[in-house]
Structure formats: structure tokens, C-alpha cells
Symmetry: C2
Subunit: 68 residues, 2 copies
């Protein structure tokens, strides 16, 4: 079990949160996604450690960006 | 044919716009809904004049409010 934490920019409402959660949740091996709208903080639990690029792709697919 | 214009508060992104458009589009007789995110202005075309209360209910169903 592994936990990844990233910060996503550009989310403005609950719909944005849902989009990000859904796209990250589609990554293979992800078991839980917690998104905090105010801070942009996203905490991801997965069976194996995730590549940052996989998270980035999912976030961009949802229409948002990772903070540096 | 009738046109109604209202102002909706609280929309922050394209998802919000979609929700409002969808709910208002479900009102009987509505033929077109144009939502401007920046101003909150919503223009609705319908076969018959709409009750403001019907529009208000749809907007609240989407999770937003009409401006006074």
C-alpha cells in the first residue's frame, strides 16, 4: 500500500473536485482519492507507488494542472 | 416564442454552467439556454413565457441562486 500527495491548481467548485477524483480514480491500482478543494491537496492511496506522470496525466485529463 | 433573462449567482466554472443549462433545459417548453459564466447572465428561449418560480426552482436544483 502506498500514499501519494499532490497539489492541483484551478479547481473552483465541487464539480471540479469530482472530475479530478474520477480521473485519478481510474488509474490502475488506485484504491482511494481524497481531494480538498480549498487547498487543492489530493491524497491518493494505491496498491503500488504511482508514477507522478500518471497522476499528472489524469489531472490534465480532468482539465487541471499539478502545482510545481 | 418568448425570451427570459435572469442572473444566476455562485457559478465558478464550466461544470456549473453545464448544471444550470441542463436543469433549465429540463423545464417544459424551453428551446434554448445560453449561460454566460462571467456575468451569470442566463438567456432562455421558450415556446411560452416562463414563470420566474420555474426558473428559480431549476437554478436551485442545480445548486445555485437567482440574483435579486
Amino acid at each position: 500500500m502506498s500514499t501519494s500527495t499532490v497539489t492541483v491548481t484551478g479547481m473552483t467548485c465541487g464539480h471540479c473536485v469530482s472530475s479530478v477524483r474520477e480521473q485519478i480514480g481510474n488509474i490502475d491500482g488506485v484504491t482511494a482519492v481524497d481531494v480538498d478543494l480549498t487547498s487543492g491537496r489530493v491524497t491518493i492511496n494505491s496498491h503500488e507507488p504511482l508514477e507522478r506522470s500518471a497522476i499528472q496525466n489524469a489531472v490534465e485529463e480532468a482539465g487541471y494542472q499539478l502545482a510545481e
